[in-house]
């Protein structure tokens, strides 16, 4: 299983899975932050964003994710002030520039986005801002791996760990998981060769009957990770139980604001209790996020559910598995993908896979 939705997109975009022997199946993991953000929280976001005197800021990906009956785009079209920011620190700047408005940032994501989101709260406090708050729904990778591996339906025999998450967190959390469940875990990057390297390392371990943690993304990831980023996380957030959209409650699987920073909690600042989320009965995103089904197993895929009118977040996000399958034509038959022009019928160019160094960590130092 590749954990990260960015890797899923890289795999489908480059057609890496098509080039693998049939014995190797890539199972797409839950690492799409937009996809696992609970519907209830999206409905809260829509509710806050629609209020007067609020500037609602978000990563662009969230704007088209359907809540119950609408999305942030439709809130904006109806007059809400919804703005895309590339960094939460830009949301802090907007709060500084608009002291008469309440600025809310939709702080979602895995360990990758969490440090910047935490930093925005630290900055807002340092600046003495009273008009900045965050709607937090942070989730973490290791608890999701436990949930998947502990499930009676689990099919995953090895993991490509998410390179970007490990760039922040390191991979010191993984050796106990590899040992407990007997699965190889290989820290993997995002370029085609990175992914191929991760697959090769995983398969070699499986063939040899090993289950260790390896780093195949050494140019970006160290064992310890980014220590200053981890310190900011520790300072601002505490571990919480989290609902994962489509999966359910996973204990101690995410972060919320510590009591010391409660004044920046948008859920406290706004009364958003009267929310009644309703999932589409057709959407099977939950099973897809757990690796139990593939997007084209869904009867609604490409018919009722398309990127233009999505039923679930996995069809919208740039990291969602359904969006990747749709965008790159996996709903088409192989006949529809046949290249007949002569000059394209050449064999795949053989990439060199054996030369990159792989660091191995079989246990905690």
């Amino acid at each position: 299983m590749e954990i990260c939705g960015g890797q899923t997109h890289a795999i489908v975009r480059h057609g890496i899975d098509q080039l693998l022997p049939p014995q190797i199946e890539l199972v797409h993991g839950p690492g799409c932050p937009v996809c696992v953000t609970p519907l209830e929280l999206i409905d809260k976001a829509l509710d806050i964003a629609a209020r007067p005197n609020v500037i609602f800021t978000s990563y662009g990906d969230m704007l088209r994710v359907p809540g119950t009956g609408r999305d942030l785009f439709s809130v904006r079209a109806a007059g809400g002030d919804v703005r895309v920011v590339y960094s939460p620190l830009d949301a802090v700047k907007i709060a500084q520039a608009n002291p008469d408005k309440q600025v809310v940032f939709f702080a979602i994501g895995f360990e990758t986005t969490a440090p910047a989101n935490a930093m925005s709260v630290v900055q807002a406090r340092a600046l003495g801002l009273k008009n900045y708050s965050v709607l937090v729904s942070h989730v973490c990778v290791p608890p999701a791996m436990h949930a998947i591996l502990g499930s009676p339906h689990n099919r995953v025999q090895g993991f490509l760990a998410a390179g970007h998450v490990c760039a922040v967190m390191g991979y010191w959390e993984y050796p106990p998981i590899a040992a407990q469940y007997g699965v190889p875990i290989v820290v993997t990057g995002f370029e085609p060769l990175d992914v191929a390297q991760g697959i090769l390392a995983t398969v070699r371990q499986l063939e040899a009957g090993r289950h260790e943690v390896e780093n195949a993304y050494g140019r970006a990831v160290t064992f310890e990770g980014n220590i200053p980023a981890q310190r900011v996380l520790e300072q601002v957030f505490e571990v919480r139980d989290r609902q994962w959209r489509g999966i359910g409650l996973i204990p101690a699987s995410g972060w919320g604001l510590r009591a010391e920073y409660a004044e920046f909690d948008a859920e406290r600042r706004w009364d958003v209790s009267d929310i009644h989320p309703q999932e589409s009965p057709l959407c099977i995103a939950g099973q897809i996020l757990q690796g139990l089904k593939k997007p084209h197993d869904c009867p609604a895929f490409g018919i009722q559910c398309t990127p233009e009118s999505p039923l679930g977040a996995t069809m919208v996000s740039s990291e969602g598995a359904c969006a990747a399958y749709y965008r790159y034509g996996r709903h088409l038959s192989s006949d529809e993908l046949r290249v007949t022009s002569d000059e394209f019928r050449t064999a795949p160019h053989s990439p060199t896979l054996h030369s990159s160094p792989v660091t191995r960590h079989s246990s905690l130092p």
């Binding site: 990906d61 895309v84 990758t112 990291e319 965008r327 290249v339 394209f344 795949p348």
Partner: protein, 354 residues
């Protein structure tokens, strides 16, 4: 325009202030202020007999019995960006639309919607840039219109241009004419305009060393038509939606499949870097000075050579081929040898989360 500053120190007659620095509502009244603005800013740079006549419509002569007609509105923000501005864009947009039909662009009209408070100096700069682009393209701006709207009702300046071009007898170029076996030629690296404009907005926290490619392509088209003649089946400029969307349109119109070779598609390194950071695919990023040509295979080498001999076609390359099926699809042979679909852009392009 500092020579007309009114001295307000000491007792003065109640002479109305002259509004030389900012656009005010009076500039759109149709009265004296409008005439003064038009005379000062537009008529001199655009000078041509049709405009100078000052009548309700410009009267022009054409040399063919068929005309290509096109119109395009421009709302780009910021108004000035690396490599161009809204004026150059407005002229090139319509010139290129006409050129993509194989027409020789001749006359343009320009409609300006000005927001109250717009800098007159900026407007003057834009007008001069339009004239420079028009001169480069060999077209005349023969009619114009100016309206002013209240502050907040527009974003500084919008420009609409419309144009006509002469179509020689027998010229038949269009999106429905791609044929199996055609070679697809791209005139140069993609994504420069979209990334330059996005970078210039400064909202996404990156600075890219990229300049917009905005340019009139009628010279390039003339050169490739001289070399390829009737072997040139389709010409189109991949503007909004990028190369991916344009090729999908052509594949659907012609009922053919287009197969791209990923390794052949030129993208400059800073554009690749910006796209990776923002989660964009350069195939979907806008261009304003590139074209795609579908050419019968036997004529492709001559057409390619002719394109490379022109200023805006120096980096032209073959990027794909047309095959009969699957009709209406664009396929991409990836760098590692697999095949995938290249779909149209769905909705707005959004920066990804991580």
């Amino acid at each position: 325009m500092t020579n007309s500053t009114v001295n307000l120190e000491g007792p003065v007659c109640p002479i109305p202030l002259r509004h030389d620095e900012k656009i005010v509502m009076g500039h759109g009244s149709g009265g004296r202020m409008s005439h003064e603005l038009i005379g000062r800013l537009f008529q001199t740079p655009f000078a041509n007999p049709a405009l100078a006549a000052g009548d309700d419509a410009g009267v022009v002569a054409v040399a063919t019995d068929r005309l290509a007609v096109s119109t395009d509105s421009h709302v780009v923000w910021p108004l000035v960006f690396p490599g161009g501005d809204i004026g150059r864009l407005a002229v090139c947009g319509t010139v290129n639309d006409l050129a993509m039909m194989g027409a020789t662009p001749r006359y343009l009209t320009a409609g300006f919607i000005l927001e109250e408070g717009l800098d007159v100096a900026l407007l003057a700069e834009v007008v001069l840039s339009m004239q420079a682009a028009a001169a480069e393209a060999g077209v005349q701006i023969v009619a114009g219109d100016t309206k002013v709207v209240q502050r907040g009702k527009a974003d500084g300046l919008y420009i609409n241009t419309a144009g006509v071009g002469e179509l020689p007898p027998g010229r038949a170029i269009g999106g429905a004419r791609a044929q199996a076996g055609d070679v697809v030629i791209l005139s140069g690296p993609i994504g420069d305009h979209g990334i330059a404009v996005l970078g210039a907005r400064g909202e996404l926290g990156f600075e890219a060393d990229v300049v917009s490619d905005v340019a009139p392509l009628n010279g390039l088209v003339a050169a490739l038509l001289a070399a390829g003649g009737e072997a040139v089946h389709v010409l189109r400029d991949p503007t909004r939606g990028g190369v991916a969307t344009t090729l999908n349109e052509i594949a659907r119109q012609s009922g053919v499949a287009v197969v791209l070779d990923e390794r052949a598609i030129p993208v400059r390194p800073p554009v690749v870097a910006a796209c990776e950071m923002l989660g964009f695919d350069p195939l979907y990023v806008a261009n304003e000075g590139k074209l795609l040509a579908f050419v019968a295979a036997e004529a492709a080498p001559a057409v390619l050579a002719a394109m490379r001999a022109t200023r805006y076609g120096e980096e032209a390359v073959v990027v794909g081929r047309v095959q009969a099926a699957p009709a209406g699809r664009v396929l991409l042979r990836t760098a590692i040898g697999s095949t995938r679909v290249v779909d149209m852009l769905a909705g707005e392009m959004l920066p990804r989360i991580c």
